[in-house]
Each structure stands twice: as structure tokens, then as C-alpha cells.
């Protein structure tokens, strides 16, 4: 444990403040740094992002079996090239734009029966030959809660085949099943600097050439690189024994993407709010022995 981290953990002096800085934010992508926390806290945030964001996902699929007729009265077969359980599994993994205000079914006023407050229904009705995609999921109810991407293929229908299904989506968390996982590519890394003494490493210029200026700070004798930007050229320096690597486990670079169910920034906000709630749950469940 570094001296610095000990100070951070105790909240001593200049280390008692933590700061979060957003480095880059897009609709479904965010990169930010947090200084002045320990790996434990960083990890708690990471784990919250991964498995504790409520999200909508299809949990029950009802297949129509038997003949399917179109408007002209042509008869189609409901047998699909894929097994029903594979289609259901694929549907469950389709990211749906979610409303964080929706209830969990078991906490809902309908007492688990399913109501518009906790359940969202979708239907697919398509005749072959065609490729059924996530865009064919028609929301029944709130029209905003569409699939986040319309082009995810579900199943390919052959001639004389048709699909008629309804799916019920409910809110859930990633720890129950991955289909309720709103984020992906969640990671953090320690802030790291590579101190290269120019006289000791000949090919420092070649590394410098490959790197953007933002990761370099240089004086006459030494040159410092950081890989916080994800610059891959810098990573090579790990293999040279003469390069001094300084890692700071109180400064973290975070990054994640969402699957489109929410905006990345909203997920982050929710996660930061959720974190103390999680700790409170722990606190509340503590009982003192008499």
C-alpha cells in the first residue's frame, strides 16, 4: 500500500477530497477520471455499473404455434429455423430503451401480476422469407421504449414461414441475468507514468513519434509518458527494465459504454446515487448482538 493511498483512506490533508472529471462523453460512451479514492471504492463503482443498473429486458416470450395466416389468407408455418428457446434467448438479449421510473415487478403495486407500471409488452408479426430483426419488435404501450438498435438479427425466416410472438419485458438488474446488464466494457485503470531517461533507452524517439502530444511531458534528460489515453504505443515501455513505471492507485481512469437502454451519463449518475444506497442496505442489515 502506498503512502498516498493510506492518506486517501484516512482522508488526511490534501487527500480528503475526491474529484470526478468527465474526459469524454457521448450518448452511449463515457470516459472520466476519479482522483482521491481507493481501488476498493473504484471497484464498488465498477461493480455497480455492471450489475446494479435497473433495465428493461424481455423475460417471457409467448409463441404462437400452428398455422399463421396473412391478410390475403395465405397460410404460413409457425415452425422456425431456430428452436423457440434460442429465439427467446436472442429476444431477451435485445437492448430496450428503458424508463428508470418503471417498477420492479415484485415491488409493484400489482403484486407481481404484471401491470403497465412494471411490464412492457412487445410483439413480432412477420412473414417469410425475411430476416426478423430487433426492429420488428413492436412496443405495445409506451411507444418510446423501443429496441435501442433496430438491426440486430433475430431469426431468418424461410418461404412459407412466419413468426407471431409476444414478449413481456420487465425491469431487472445485471446480477440476476446478463440481459439486464446496461453497460459493457466497464473498466478502470490506475494512473500510470513511464519515466524514460533518454540516455538509457535508445528508441524513445520512436515511441514518441507514435504518441499524441497529450501523453508526453518532456525535459532535456527525461521524457514521461502516460497511457491514460489508451495510447497503445506507450504500452511497449512496460517491457523495458530501464523504464521507471510510476503507478498511482488513488487516481483512476474509468470508461464504459451502454447498450443504448440509457445515456451513459445517466447511468453514471444513477450508479453514483446507487452506491451509498447499497452501503446503507448493508448498514441496515447489521444488527448488534444484545
Amino acid at each position: 500500500m502506498t503512502e498516498q493511498r493510506r492518506k486517501v483512506e484516512r482522508g488526511e490533508g490534501e487527500y480528503n477530497l475526491m474529484s470526478l472529471k468527465i474526459l469524454k462523453a457521448e450518448d452511449r460512451f463515457i470516459k472520466f477520471s476519479i482522483d482521491g479514492i481507493t481501488p476498493t471504492i473504484a471497484n464498488a463503482l465498477r461493480r455497480t455499473l455492471l450489475d446494479d443498473i435497473p433495465k428493461l429486458a424481455i423475460d417471457k416470450v409467448i409463441f404462437h404455434h400452428g398455422q399463421i395466416r396473412d391478410r390475403e389468407g395465405n397460410v404460413y408455418d409457425s415452425s422456425l429455423p431456430l428452436f423457440d428457446e434460442i429465439v427467446a434467448h436472442r429476444l431477451s438479449l435485445v437492448p430496450l430503451v428503458s424508463d428508470p421510473k418503471m417498477n420492479f415487478r415484485e415491488e409493484c403495486a400489482c403484486e407481481g401480476k404484471g401491470c403497465p407500471l412494471c411490464t412492457m409488452s412487445y410483439s413480432i408479426n412477420k412473414i417469410g422469407p425475411a430476416v426478423v430483426t430487433s426492429g420488428d419488435l413492436q412496443p405495445m404501450g409506451n411507444p418510446d421504449l423501443t429496441p435501442a438498435d433496430p438491426d440486430i438479427p433475430i431469426v431468418k425466416l424461410g418461404p412459407k414461414q412466419a413468426i407471431l410472438v409476444t414478449g413481456e419485458a420487465i425491469m431487472g438488474r445485471g446480477k440476476t441475468h446478463t440481459k439486464w446488464q446496461a453497460t459493457s466494457g466497464v473498466f478502470y485503470k490506475y494512473h500510470r507514468e513511464f519515466v524514460v531517461t533518454k540516455s538509457e533507452l535508445e528508441n524513445w524517439t520512436s515511441v514518441k513519434e507514435k504518441c499524441p502530444l497529450s501523453v508526453i511531458s518532456e525535459d532535456s534528460k527525461t521524457i514521461r509518458f502516460t497511457d491514460d489515453d489508451g495510447c497503445k504505443a506507450v504500452r511497449q515501455l512496460l517491457d523495458y527494465p530501464s523504464v521507471k513505471v510510476i503507478e498511482d492507485d488513488t487516481q483512476f481512469i474509468f470508461q464504459f459504454e451502454t447498450d443504448g437502454s440509457y445515456k451513459a451519463i445517466d447511468v453514471l449518475e444513477y450508479a453514483l446515487k446507487r452506491l451509498p444506497q447499497r452501503l446503507n442496505t448493508l448498514l441496515e442489515s447489521l444488527t448488534t448482538p444484545d
Binding site: 481501488p39 476498493t40 473504484a42 471497484n43 464498488a44 465498477r46 461493480r47 455492471l50 450489475d51 409463441f63 404455434h65 428452436f83 423457440d84 428457446e85 434460442i86 434467448h89 438479449l93 445485471g174 446480477k175 441475468h177 446478463t178 440481459k179 446488464q181 459493457s184 466494457g185 466497464v186 473498466f187 478502470y188 485503470k189 490506475y190 497511457d227 489508451g230 497503445k232 504505443a233 504500452r235 511497449q236 512496460l238 517491457d239 503507478e247 492507485d249 470508461q255 464504459f256
Partner: protein, 1200 residues
């Protein structure tokens, strides 16, 4: 020369040797030289008749001479003319009487035999009057799928589709799909009773070939010469031995003891001693031994009265020895039987052939003495030149020969029996068709071949496509598995390029069960008389007298003459063969040490293709390659032009083969990228102006041409096509195998055959009893070129996993694997398991039959109504309904078993419930219900149930490097380690799996897979020619990874960085079909066996888990007596016996029903009866003893 391999597999499939063998066997109108036709020509109905003809007994035909010709006419020792036997298209005779052509899939679905009718054309000559020839059906022959008579082959398919109103204008693939077939299926198997059966190839010692070797007998070394003489399915081992006293003796099959050589030679007609001498001697050092042998035979003490001096003496000796005291007639018959039938049958069975046998025996003894004198070396039994392979066609040959003879014998009997003077003979009703069909079918269905061999036909392995292909290319040795046979199991140098060095099972069958290498050719046999004629035109001298300066010439193991310049003869034969003047089936070898020319043109030699090298370069040139590419040439054209040669193990002994044609620089001189053989093209093969003119190569990266040194010299005779061809199909699937330790490749090959994937594309309409399909099979990121040839990319069996090598909380020790739960939930490693249940409305004698229906209450043994709720009104289950343990799939009732069943009740008999239910420990959805009609016109229903198999604790996975493991933990994604790019591995394997096993290929594949994910193209890991490690490492750094392929990782549980960097990569993993869902089992109480009342055995019977001897020992050690009693008695077959307490009686008491009290039936005692707890097995023993008349009395007393 990888291009050559590409072109080869354009026209040939990997199982074409099987199909070619069958095509060569099966008789069709267009092929008068088929093996079947030859069998028909040669078959004799009885021993003293001409082949191909049967003469009816005139005493039974009212004195008329009736001759029935079924073979072809013989002219100049060869059979000529139109074929007299041919096989039609596969068809089925329906119960209605109509015959319909069928396809393989119809046979599979309806449990039919895929067979075609055999027609025989018979000419009857009655008292010299020839009648109109008649075509009669003599039976059915099983048809090999994709052989020339199969409905799927070539034009046959078009005809079938047109006849059945199918899509006439569709492509070939669409037509195959229309008939329910997988377009990429290889064929090469049979369909017997709806199940796919393979005739595995058999390896055997070469027949009619003299093998000399030393043998240990009575602690001394003796020389032995053996020959397996084989003619027309009859096989006889003749062996010759030189004893310690120098006397040579011969043992003949079906004759007891051994016969001195000299006597046998004299009996065969070498009357004079000088003839005997000349037939043996080739070297003056042999003389004393030969003289000793002749002297011995003249010794009157041993051979009274005067010794054996001439032919008459010898015959008399044999008669006396083997038929002493019998009538003269019998004695003669016995001796002629021995000399003409049992001894060396391949040389003939007539008295005229005896002299040939004598010369042959002389030659055998010469070889024997040459071995003794050190002139000749011991023959190597394991040398492939001394082995022959029997393919499907050869094995069917044996079967058909036997069955055809039986049919013809029966026909003769029937014709004689039913002969009617007025009507003449009537052929058609006299033929018993089912005799032939049933004989063949029975052998094919059980695998019990004639000659007592078992396991010849096997159920085709359909676990994965690779296992199917491997099964079709399997070669088994008939040596017993229990004996060591160390030499036979060893890899022999001659197996190079013919038999896969790695693909063999471990354990008792190791080295005995083999698999063919990628490109092999098995000879079909070529008429030796034609070869003989050619040889005579090449100054071959007759076998007359001894000619020690000339070289001896052998044809198919037969000594056929001398030649003054054997080396020149060998070269000439090869030249003529390359010019197409001699058949390419002929192979020749010149043995320098004995000056022998060995020519072979018989069946069953495994050959491999090699490029011919002349004057330091290949005969094949770029022009030929171009024509191959355009399809103008096939590889046979290369053979015809002498550019490509198929050589057997014998001929290969003469050759000097270069493995590579050229050397090449490490990097391309222009683009500076790493070069490897897969990335190089040889532009000027066959062009060499000066001895050191270079090879021109083209870089596969930048298409630059550059010069490289040639590795071919003037001495080279041949060039290897590609060294990767030494492996078989299964071992070829592993990338970088040359970096692995050899046993691991063997293990990988064994495991690839158990991997789940897409085994056939028509799996949804197949009705295999068991089957698996992987949900998301992927093409491997690190490929081998061989995968293109076996169409692996169309039938993959695995997925690319992101793998980290590190320990994880001890959950991956001992080869366990830690799985990422999120990956599993996203579909990693998911598969579906199928099981097909089938039911038939069977008919019983007496007009009763089974019926599919929902059993009503009055049916004996009917279940409660809710068990039948998923069935429709016909008693058959609805598709997509959920079923589990013991649910009814088909409601069925059967007629009462015995007429008297039902006891004393009168009235109509009750039908029995005989529904088909799910297996007790399985569940799933009904996938498909197929209702069809069997051959006997009864309804058959087949129900396929599917269940999803999601990876769970204990499921088995393996990479392609023999690295197998079971799931040790399924860990939540957030608890898994992650990299600085957010990558979380799919699985974590333990680092201890690597160093001691030396599977460096595993590491290289991980790196290669990692690169492939970034580059977006597969990495070539073909053996000997794939991308080298240096190139991979360079690519890693170019793509921004570290050259070690390690990554900084953080612990998902604590959030801290790991001190060590973790090796990660992407590697192809296979899900093996050993899954917990099919194995887990527990029981507390359950069914017991009727006889012993002990718990049943096995999971399928909900059996108990055996508490064995060793488990019992632990309890004894603990002194836990009550636990032992509980396990062995209370929870097993404990019963209460009522024993008569009368100390003089001690019998078992019975419960008197009328009085309700126990009573001893022996002594009548009713009061003094006590319950005794014993095991039921004890009671059984008591009963059995009493049945033997042994009375066991149980004398009771109180415990003290």
C-alpha cells in the same frame, strides 16, 4: 505444392477410397469387370462342376441334360462378354406390392434397408437346346450412399427428382436438399434398418507372400517361413520351419503335425533327388543342409521300410500317416485333399498344379535357408509392403461370394426338386431371394462377418462431422487387443503419408486402430496376366534351372522368372508406367542386396501420391498446374503424364524423396514481411535449364517475385506434395501441432471426435436416437488449410473463447476451468440435445395388433388421465409440448400377452397399456413428430425431444491441443479479472496445465487468435507451413500488444491490480459431449431387481450407488457396525423370514391365510415361529440348495 492438394480435393472427397472400392465391387450393366461379376463367373455349385455353370442331376430331371449357365463365357483363360449380373437402383417393396425407388433419407426415416435388387441373367440349355436367356432377381444388395448405384449420385438424382415431381431445374445442392439430404455429406456408409453403418477397413498380412523370420521356440531360435495362401475367399496358412537338427518340415492347415519337406516335394511330383536339390539350392553353402535333408528322408529307420526314395514312397508315407488303416480309396482321397486343397490353394486345386506347389515350396525353403545363412534379412511383418487393407468392397466380396454360392446351391436343389417333365424348369419361383439378402443383411446389421470376425460393420459416429469422416477412414488390425504386440502397435516408418501418426486411441487399442492419412489410394487390383505379358516382352527369362547371375523377378509374390539386368528392368517398367503403357496400379521395387525385382499389382496396397523428379526438377510444370486449376486436367491426367505417381510402401524403399522443393528467406526481400510456406507460391516448377538455376517464388503478401535456392538434386527421384499430408483428418484440425508434444496431439485427435457442433445440416429431419447441436458454432480464428478439404468451416464444432491463464481462488486447480457467467448467459457453449423415441403399431400372429390411442380405464395398467393430457385424439403428443420424467409420448395399447391371462374372469380379454414414455431423468420440448409407415405397412411414429444444455458445473471442454477440463466454477462477470481495455475473459485456465504437458501449440494458438480478432482475418496454423512464432510476436507489437501477449489485469473482487501480468489470448474451445445433465444421478429409495431384491444398477434404471468392498472396509476400520448393517442390509435386500423354531425342523414358515397365523409347512408347528432378519440373497441361496436336495436348517437361539 499446396495448390496440388487444393485441386485434388476439388474432385475427390476424403472418403472416396470407400466409395471407389464399392463402385469397383458392385456390378452394373456398364461394368463387366466388376468384382461381383468375377465372383459369379468363378462360383461353382459343387466341387466337380465348371465355374459359372450348374448341371442338374439327370436322375432327377427324367434323364434330360439340363445345363444352367449364369457366368460369362471363358475365352483364353479370361471371362468375356456381356455382364450376367447387375444391380439396379435402391428400392423398397411396399406391402401393397408396388416397388418404389427410395433415397437415403427415406430409409433413415422409415427404418428401411437401403438396398437395390440384384438381377442375374441365366441361360438354360436343355439337351443341347438353348432357351431364351432369363433375367431373375436373386436378392438385394445394400447400397453405399453416394456410390454409383445410390439415388443421390450424378444423374440418378436428376432421374429421381423428375420421377417424383421435384424441382427439376434446381441446382444439385437444392435437389439434395429436396430429398432431405445434407449436400455436404460424404456418403460412404450403408443404411441398414434405418441406421447408418460403416464397414471399417481391415488391415491384414499380405496373402500369397512368403515371409521369413526368426521365432523363439523351446528357448532356441528357429527360422520360419510363412505364407498366407488365399484364393477366392479361402485362406490357408502354410508354414515351414528349420529345426535344430537342420531338417526342414512343413505344416499344412487342417493336417496334424508337420511333414518333412523332402517327402512333401516328392509327393508333389519331384521324383528325383536332383529335382529336389535344384528346386531349393541357390548357394553352395546350402548344399550340406539340402543333402542332410535328402539323406534323412532315405533313412529306413525313420521311414520304414526303405526310406522315401520316390513319388510312390512319399504318397505311401502320407497315406500311412494320415489315413492309416482305411480303404485305399479313402486314403487316396485324403492325400489328394491335403495336397490339392489345403496346401497353397492360391496355386490351384488340380493335380496338375502340384508341380507348381513343389517349386513354390522349394523357393520357400530357399528363402528360409538364405535367412539361416545370413544372405537374406528377416522380413518385417509390420512393413506396410507386407500388409494389405480390405475396404468395404473387399469385405462385401467375401460376404457376397458366400451368399451367392448358397443361393445357387439352393437354386439347384429347388430346380431338381420341383422339376416337372411337362412344364420344364421354372427359374423364377425357384430362387430364394431372401436367402442372399438375409445373409448379407444379417452380417451388416450385427457386424459378424463370415470367418467369425466381429465388429466389421459399425454404427456411424455422428457426434461431429470430423468424427464421421474419421470413422469412415478408420483401419483396424485384427490382432487381439489383449496381447501386447508391441511391434505391431509401434509407428512404422512406412506409415509416413499413409496412416496418421497421431490419431489412434489410447489404452488397449493403441496402435491397432489406425486412421488413414489425408490423401491415400488403395489399389483395386490389376490383372497379373496382362503384366506378365508385358514382362515377357521385356526379356524376362523362363524359370528353368538355376541362374545365379541373373536377378529374380517376382510378381505378386510369385517367382515368375529371371532377368539379366534387374535394375534396368525396374527402370524400364517405371518408364513404361509413366508413359501410360503399363497400368498405374503396378508398382515395382528393385532389391539391391538380393538382386530381386518385386512387382505388385494386387488389391489392398495403401499408396500415396508423390511428384516425380527428373534431372533435379519436377516433371510437373506450371502449365499442368494451370490446366489443373482450370479443371481441364484432373490429378489422373498428371499420373498419365508421369508427373505424379502413386507409390506403395514396397516401391518407396527405392526412392529418394525430397520433403521440400525449395528453401526460402525468413522475410520477403521486398515487403520485409515474414515468409512461410503457406504464403509462398512456386512459379517455375519443372523448369530447370542449368543445374543451379534457381526457383522463382512469389511472396503471398506483396506478390513480388524473387529467386530462391532449389533443394532438389540430380539424385532425387521424387518430391513430397506437402508434408502436412502425413496427418489424418482429425489430427489436421489442430493448429501448430508441430509445437506440441506428440501424446497431446493424439489426445487432441481423440477429443475432437467428441466435440459438439453442427454434425450434419439436415439434423432437423434426422431421427438419430441421440444427437447434439451447438447453438452458435464458430469457424476457428486460427485455421489449418486441411479444414478447407474436410469442409470444417461448414460444419464447425467449437467456439473462440477469450482465455486468461491464471489461478482463480482455487476453482481451476487440476484442469478445472472457471467460466464467466455472463458469457454463458449470452449463449457461450450452449447446445441442444436430441433424443428420438419411436413406436410402432406392431402386428401379432392371429390378426391382433397394437394401436396408438389414449388408453381407457379398462386397459390393463392404464395410467391416470392427466398422464395423457398432452396427447391428441390419436394418442400422439403435440409438438412443442413440455415433457419430463416418465411423461407419456405415445399412448399405445397392445393385445393381451397370453390368451389365458386375466385368470378366472370370463368375458373379453383386456388390452395392455404399452405407451412410450420419456426417460425418467430427462426433460425437454417435443421437437418433431414424424408419422410414417414401416416396410410391413404398420404405422411408425418417431418423436424427437430436445433439451437445451447450458454450460454448468462439471461440463467438459477442451482446446484442440489435448487440454481438457471440466467447469470448476461459473463466476459472475463482475468477479472476474479485467484488463485495462475492459476485456473480461470467457474462461480462466490454470497455468499448471502448460509446462509439464508442453503444449506450446496451445500458447501459439492463443496468440494467433488474439491477432486474428484484431486483424479481422484468420491466422494460418497449418502444420509445418503456418505463420511462424516470430511473425506472430511481431504482429502482436504492431497491434499494440506486448510481444509476450500478457496484459495488466485487475482483480474483480478486490479491485486491485495483480502484481503479475496475465497471459491472455483467444483460442478455439470445443464442448465435449460428456455433460453433467446426462450423468448426474442420486437415489435414496427406488426400484429393486425381481430376483435378488437388491437395488437396480445404472442411472437409466434409477439404480442405487454401489457401496462396494472398499467402502465397506472403511466402515470396518471405524468399527461402525450399525452403518454396515444399514448399507448392506436395511438399504439393500433385507427381508424378514419366519423360521420354524423347532430345533429339529428349522424350515421357513408360511402364513396360513385361512387362519391368519404362521405355520411351518414341514412339521406343522404353529406356535414356535420367529421372525428372522436376513438378506434376501441368503433366502435365495437356501432355496437353491434345497433344489439340489441339500436341506438347510436354521437353528434359532437368543443373542447372548
Amino acid at each position: 505444392m499446396k495448390e496440388l492438394v487444393d485441386y485434388f480435393f476439388k474432385n475427390e472427397s476424403v472418403v472416396s477410397h470407400q466409395i471407389d472400392s464399392y463402385n469397383n465391387f458392385v456390378a452394373t450393366l456398364g461394368n463387366p469387370e466388376s468384382v461381383m461379376q468375377q465372383i459369379v463367373d468363378e462360383t461353382k455349385v459343387s466341387d466337380d462342376e465348371e465355374p459359372g455353370l450348374m448341371v442338374l442331376d439327370p436322375t432327377k430331371t427324367g434323364g434330360r441334360e439340363i445345363r444352367v449357365y449364369y457366368g460369362r463365357v471363358r475365352e483364353k483363360g479370361r471371362f468375356v462378354g456381356e455382364p450376367t449380373i447387375w444391380v439396379g437402383s435402391p428400392e423398397i417393396k411396399e406391402a401393397s406390392g408396388a416397388s418404389n425407388q427410395i433415397t437415403p433419407n427415406e430409409a433413415r426415416l422409415r427404418d428401411l434397408n437401403y438396398m437395390a435388387p440384384i438381377t442375374l441373367r441365366v441361360r438354360v440349355v436343355e439337351d443341347g437346346m438353348e432357351k431364351e436367356p432369363e433375367n431373375i432377381k436373386i436378392g438385394d444388395l445394400p447400397v453405399m450412399v453416394r456410390s454409383k448405384v445410390c439415388s443421390l449420385t450424378g444423374n440418378n438424382l436428376d432421374v429421381y427428382v423428375e420421377k417424383n415431381n421435384g424441382p427439376v431445374d434446381a441446382s444439385r445442392r437444392e435437389k439434395l436438399q429436396y430429398v432431405g439430404e445434407d449436400p455436404d455429406d460424404s456418403g460412404g456408409y450403408f443404411l441398414i434398418g434405418g441406421s447408418e453403418r460403416v464397414i471399417t477397413s481391415l488391415e491384414d498380412l499380405a496373402p500369397n507372400k512368403i515371409l521369413v523370420e526368426f521365432e523363439e521356440k523351446y528357448d532356441s531360435k528357429v527360422e520360419v517361413a510363412k505364407v498366407f495362401s488365399q484364393k477366392a475367399g479361402f485362406r490357408a496358412l502354410t508354414s515351414m520351419e528349420r529345426g535344430n537338427d537342420g531338417i526342414i518340415s512343413v505344416s499344412i492347415p487342417s493336417v496334424a503335425g508337420s511333414i518333412p519337406l523332402v517327402i512333401l516335394l516328392k509327393a508333389l511330383g519331384l521324383d528325383r533327388d536332383v529335382d529336389v536339390h535344384n528346386s531349393i539350392s541357390s548357394n553352395e553353402r546350402m548344399e550340406p543342409i539340402i543333402y542332410a535333408n535328402i539323406e534323412e528322408s532315405k533313412n529306413p529307420k525313420i521311414f520304414p521300410p526303405n526310406g522315401v526314395n520316390n513319388n510312390e514312397d512319399a504318397i505311401a508315407y502320407l497315406e500311412k500317416r494320415f489315413a492309416a488303416g482305411q480303404a485305399k480309396e479313402f486314403r487316396e482321397k485324403k492325400v489328394s485333399q491335403m495336397l490339392d486343397r489345403s496346401l497353397l490353394p492360391h496355386l490351384g486345386d488340380r493335380p496338375e498344379d502340384r508341380i507348381k506347389k513343389a517349386i513354390y515350396l522349394g523357393r520357400m525353403s530357399r528363402s528360409l535357408l538364405e535367412l539361416h545363412l545370413g544372405i537374406r534379412k528377416e522380413d518385417d511383418k509390420d512393413h506396410l509392403a507386407n500388409k494389405r487393407v480390405k475396404l468395404a468392397g473387399d469385405l462385401l466380396d467375401e460376404l457376397f461370394r458366400n451368399a451367392f454360392q448358397a443361393v445357387m446351391k439352393d437354386l439347384k436343389y429347388q430346380l431338381e426338386r420341383t422339376y416337372n417333365r411337362k412344364k420344364g424348369i421354372r427359374l423364377k419361383p425357384a430362387v430364394r431371394q431372401d436367402l442372399l439378402s438375409q445373409k448379407i443383411l444379417h452380417a451388416m446389421a450385427t457386424g459378424n462377418w463370415i470367418g467369425g470376425r466381429t465388429g466389421v460393420s459399425q454404427l456411424l459416429d455422428r457426434i461431429s462431422n470430423v468424427s464421421t469422416l474419421s470413422h469412415l477412414r478408420r483401419i483396424i488390425s485384427p490382432l487381439t487387443r489383449s496381447q501386447p504386440h508391441f511391434e505391431a502397435r509401434d509407428l512404422h516408418p512406412t506409415q509416413w503419408g499413409r496412416i496418421c501418426p497421431n490419431e489412434t486411441p489410447e489404452g488397449q487399442n493403441c496402435g491397432l486402430v489406425k486412421n488413414a492419412a489425408l490423401i491415400i489410394n488403395v489399389t483395386e487390383g490389376y490383372n497379373p496376366t496382362i503384366v506378365m505379358e508385358t514382362l515377357k516382352g521385356m526379356d524376362l527369362q523362363e524359370v528353368e534351372g538355376e541362374n545365379p547371375d541373373a536377378g529374380r523377378v517376382y510378381l505378386n509374390g510369385d517367382f515368375v522368372g529371371y532377368h539379366n539386368d534387374p535394375a534396368e528392368l525396374t527402370d524400364r517398367i517405371r518408364e513404361e508406367r509413366r508413359r501410360g503403357k503399363i497400368s498405374s496400379e503396378v508398382n515395382v521395387r528393385f532389391d539391391d542386396s538380393t538382386k530381386e525385382v518385386i512387382i505388385n499389382c494386387d488389391r489392398g496396397r495403401i499408396r500415396r501420391p508423390l511428384l516425380v523428379v527428373k534431372n533435379g526438377t519436377t516433371v510437373m510444370n506450371s502449365d499442368m498446374l494451370k490446366k489443373l486449376q482450370s479443371g481441364e486436367y484432373s490429378h489422373e491426367d498428371l499420373v498419365k503424364r508421369g508427373a505424379l505417381e502413386l507409390v506403395d510402401a514396397e516401391e518407396e524403399e527405392n526412392l529418394f524423396i525430397s520433403v521440400y522443393g525449395f528453401d526460402f528467406p525468413e522475410r520477403c526481400p521486398k515487403c520485409n514481411q515474414y515468409l512461410y510456406r503457406s504464403k509462398l507460391r512456386w512459379l517455375n516448377p519443372g523448369e530447370k535449364d542449368t543445374p543451379d538455376s534457381p526457383v522463382i517464388l512469389e511472396c503471398g503478401h506483396c506478390r513480388t517475385k524473387f529467386e530462391a535456392p532449389s533443394l532438389l538434386t540430380e539424385e532425387h527421384t521424387h518430391l513430397e506434395i506437402d508434408p502436412s499430408l502425413i496427418l489424418g483428418v482429425t489430427a489436421s484440425v489442430t493448429p501448430y501441432p508441430e509445437h506440441n508434444s506428440s501424446p497431446r496431439i493424439t489426445m487432441a485427435a481423440a477429443m475432437t471426435k467428441q466435440s459438439l457442433g453442427l454434425s450434419s445440416s439436415n439434423f432437423r429431419i434426422r431421427t438419430d436416437t441421440r444427437g447434439h447441436v451447438l447453438h452458435y458454432p464458430q469457424i476457428p480464428l486460427v485455421t489449418t488449410r486441411v479444414m478447407d478439404f474436410i469442409k470444417y468451416e461448414k460444419k464447425p464444432a467449437g467456439q473462440n473463447f477469450v482465455v486468461a491463464i491464471m489461478s482463480y481462488q482455487g476453482y481451476n486447480i487440476q484442469d478445472a476451468i472457471v467460466f464467466n457467467r455472463s458469457a454463458v448467459e449470452r449463449g457461450l457453449g450452449r447446445s441442444t440435445f436430441f433424443r428420438t423415441y419411436s413406436a410402432e403399431e406392431r402386428r401379432y400372429p392371429g390378426g391382433q395388433e397394437d394401436k396408438f390411442e389414449i388408453p381407457t380405464h379398462d386397459v390393463l395398467g392404464a395410467r391416470a388421465e392427466e398422464f395423457y393430457r398432452n396427447l391428441d385424439e390419436n394418442g400422439i403428443i403435440f409438438p412443442e409440448s413440455y415433457v419430463e420424467g416418465s411423461d407419456v409420448l405415445v399412448g399405445k395399447t397392445s393385445p393381451p400377452r397370453f390368451l389365458e391371462e386375466g385368470g378366472d374372469k370370463l368375458g373379453p380379454q383386456r388390452r395392455r397399456e404399452s405407451s412410450i414414455t420419456m426417460r425418467p431423468n430427462e426433460k425437454g420440448f417435443v421437437d418433431n413428430v414424424i408419422l410414417t409407415v414401416s416396410e410391413s405397412n404398420s404405422r411408425v411414429v418417431k418423436i424427437r425431444v430436445r433439451s437445451e444444455r447450458i454450460p454448468e458445473l462439471g461440463d467438459k471442454f477442451a482446446s484442440r491441443h489435448g487440454q481438457k477440463g471440466v467447469i470448476g466454477a461459473v463466476v459472475a462477470q463482475e468477479d472476474m479479472p479485467f484488463t485495462e481495455e475492459g476485456v473480461i475473459p470467457d474462461i480462466i485456465i490454470n497455468p499448471h496445465a502448460i509446462p509439464s504437458r508442453m503444449t506450446v501449440g496451445h500458447i501459439l494458438e492463443m496468440i494467433g487468435g488474439k491477432i486474428a480478432t484484431q486483424k479481422g482475418e484468420p491466422v494460418d496454423g497449418t502444420i509445418f507451413s503456418g505463420e511462424p512464432e516470430k511473425s506472430l510476436r511481431e504482429d502482436l507489437t504492431k497491434l499494440g500488444f506486448r510481444h509476450s501477449s500478457t496484459e495488466v489485469m485487475y482483480d474483480g473482487l478486490t479491485g486491485r491490480k495483480f502484481d503479475a501480468d496475465i497471459f491472455t489470448g483467444v483460442i478455439y474451445y470445443q464442448k465435449l459431449h460428456h455433460m453433467v445433465a446426462g450423468k448426474f444421478h442420486a437415489r435414496s429409495r427406488g426400484p429393486v431387481q425381481i430376483l435378488t431384491r437388491q437395488p437396480t444398477e445404472g442411472r437409466s434404471r434409477q439404480g442405487g450407488l454401489r457401496f462396494g468392498e472398499m467402502e465397506r472396509d472403511t466402515l470396518i476400520a471405524h468399527g461402525a457396525a450399525m452403518v454396515i448393517k444399514d448399507r448392506l442390509l436395511d438399504q439393500s435386500d433385507g427381508t424378514i423370514l419366519y423360521v420354524c423354531g423347532n430345533p429339529k425342523c428349522g424350515h421357513i414358515a408360511i402364513l396360513d391365510r385361512k387362519r391368519g397365523t404362521p405355520r411351518c409347512p414341514v412339521c406343522g408347528n404353529t406356535g414356535n415361529i420367529h421372525p428372522v432378519e436376513t438378506s434376501y440373497a441368503f433366502k435365495l441361496m437356501r432355496d437353491e440348495l434345497s433344489s439340489l436336495g441339500v436341506m438347510m436348517r436354521l437353528v434359532l437361539g437368543d443373542l447372548k
